[in-house]
């Protein structure tokens, strides 16, 4: 337990440094929240309150921002977030089927995380790779024209 707390403290220390570095920029809140999510993996209420205190702004404002943008999550996420594009082009080219295949392969539903904590299945609006529809994205890697489970298996196996 002590080790867990220590690890947590380290993360908060890093966040404090980031806030210190960025707080004089013009309205850095979204930038700070982005980095905070990188550090913690998600943005629980405690982290939001910590930022509120350090930046001297109401926690309610932060909550408002976090819940507005779908990039921010208040639930823990897997090591990799698998974003399926649900823009119109992907939708007509079979995004719903792709989601179904991914969901069966991973054994989780939309917005859920696999038990081993590797993947979170999520949807995202158009990623602008429409000519490759249907598309999903892991980190900075885009995978297009996914029409079979074999391809999905092969791709997922690259992410340990």
């Amino acid at each position: 337990m002590a080790a867990v707390t220590q690890e947590q403290n380290r993360l908060y220390e890093r966040l404090a440094e980031v806030i210190e570095e960025k707080k004089d920029l013009r309205n850095p809140l979204i930038e700070i929240l982005r980095i905070a999510q990188e550090i913690f993996g998600y943005l629980p209420i405690e982290v939001q309150e910590f930022i509120a205190e350090k930046m001297n702004i109401p926690a309610s404002k932060i909550y408002g921002v976090v819940t507005f943008y779908n990039f921010f999550s208040m639930k823990p996420r897997g090591k990799y977030t698998l974003n399926v594009c649900t823009g119109t082009a992907c939708f007509v080219k079979g995004a719903p089927r792709l989601i179904q295949m991914l969901s069966e392969e991973l054994g989780v539903g939309m917005g859920e995380t696999t038990q081993d904590g590797r993947f979170t299945l999520s949807a995202v609006r158009c990623v602008g790779a429409c000519s490759l529809a249907p598309v999903f994205v892991i980190g900075e890697d885009t995978f297009g024209r996914i029409d079979a489970k074999d391809k999905i298996k092969e791709i997922l196996s690259r992410y340990e």
Partner: protein
């Protein structure tokens, strides 16, 4: 001492990267080393070349030969046949009724296109400031700063007839004039890269493929209206675009093309990137401004219908493609620009073609070209020669057009009238 005799341009736009172009690039490095000709070939990663459906694509100079759907296994043959023996590999070329089309310029996909904003996209290395300068980059900025008054700049844009490429088609010079005329200690310019319309990847490709062009265009606009700070608002879903713009800003600052007293003119400018966090509405101007201000991206009414304010200061929001046209307008002249297009819609327009069309990808055509030409000549027609049924033009606020509208011109007026 340069012994280079071949420029190998590999398309590293998002489409080709996901089709495997980076692996192909690695393979080229290996095979060139095996043949001991590494020193003779420049490998250049470019932005989107356009025909994404044929990805990964590449162009090889000096001949200008275009290869499509290249795989890792094809690399050895390209090197030993084409690079070593000078015999281009015809099976990797595009074929028109059994005849191989060798040169990129002869590929039908490119023939009705006129590239202004996309001029360098797929032709230069987007991460190289030198290559942008080689194509005449920053010359327009230098001329504007040292030889023109801000009002002259606005007048030239007025003369060119440039209108907002984000969809609304609002005349660019009116926006600039508003901010120019508004006295304030600080003014801002925002480049709207929150492209989110379904099927659209024009702005993404421009930011990724020619970032310095957007930077130069933004600075010319800033000078015209007296802005000293710029913001690039780019979606988090576009990580490569964010990286490239950040890199371009660093490079420009390093050589003094951005910062204090640019070209000795006294003009100072600084820009930064703000990342969107995923909310479609943030493409709307006021919502976008609130998002940059670090708040919820709620659209709010403006005090004046045209004038935006961020942090209470006059602000212009211009779309990526609009800004991308600016350097070329100053290099080639307002008259040149307004000679293209229709009476009210001047210049060219970039389109992202997607769906059941043969040549999906990124194209730039003169305003006013008909949908028929765009879909059948440039786009190659329907897959499997099926009957064309309908096309969606523009975003959610655009509309669906059917076969009855195929002879509609793609310009602001005609498309507005056609959409039911």
């Amino acid at each position: 001492m340069s012994l280079k005799r071949i420029d190998l341009l590999i398309c590293c736009g998002s489409g080709c990267v996901s089709a495997g172009s980076l692996k192909i690039k690695e393979r080229f490095h290996e095979v060139l080393a095996e043949h001991n000709i590494t020193s003779e070939v420049n490998i250049i990663e470019t932005g989107c070349m356009g025909p994404c459906d044929y990805g990964p694509v590449m162009v090889i100079y000096p001949e200008g030969i275009f290869y499509k759907k290249v795989t890792v296994d094809d690399v050895a043959e390209i090197v030993s046949e084409h690079f070593v023996k000078g015999r281009p590999v015809s099976r990797l070329m595009l074929h028109d009724e059994e005849k191989a089309i060798a040169a990129q310029k002869d590929v039908p996909f490119y023939q009705k296109q006129v590239k202004v904003a996309l001029e360098n996209c797929g032709y230069i290395d987007p991460e190289s400031l030198d290559e942008y300068i080689a194509t005449g980059g920053y010359e327009a900025l230098g001329t504007v700063l040292t030889e023109m008054k801000p009002q002259d700049v606005i007048d030239l844009i007025k003369e060119s007839g440039l209108r907002g490429r984000g969809g609304g088609g609002f005349p660019t010079h009116i926006k600039w004039q508003m901010v120019h005329d508004n006295k304030a200690d600080e003014k801002y310019i925002i480049c709207n890269g929150d492209e989110g319309d379904p099927g659209a990847f024009m702005d993404r490709s421009l930011l990724e493929g020619d970032p310095h062009r957007i930077l130069e265009g933004m600075m010319i606009a800033a000078y015209a209206m007296g802005a000293t700070n710029g913001f690039f608002y780019i979606r988090a879903e576009y990580p490569l675009a964010i990286k490239r713009i950040k890199m371009a800003i660093e490079q420009a600052k390093e050589v003094g093309l951005m910062g204090k007293d640019i070209f000795g003119s006294g003009f100072c400018f600084d820009a930064e990137v703000r990342t969107g966090a995923g909310a479609f509405v943030c493409g709307e101007e006021m919502a976008l401004i609130h998002s940059i201000e670090g708040m919820r991206g709620n659209p709010t009414p403006k005090l004046h219908i045209l004038l935006c304010r961020s942090w209470g200061k006059p602000t212009v929001v211009n779309n990526v493609e609009t800004i991308g046209n600016i350097p070329t307008i100053f290099r080639k002249g307002a008259e040149w620009f307004s000679s293209m297009g229709t009476e009210k819609s001047k210049g060219t327009k970039v389109f992202a073609l997607t769906g059941d069309i043969k040549n999906t990808g990124l194209v730039e055509v003169p305003m006013g070209i008909t949908l028929r030409e765009l879909i059948f000549d440039v786009g190659g027609g329907m897959i499997g020669n099926h009957k064309f049924k309908a096309v969606q033009l523009g975003g959610p606020s655009g509309g669906c057009l059917t076969v009855d509208h195929l002879d509609t011109g793609v310009d602001y007026e005609s498309s507005k009238n056609a959409v039911p």
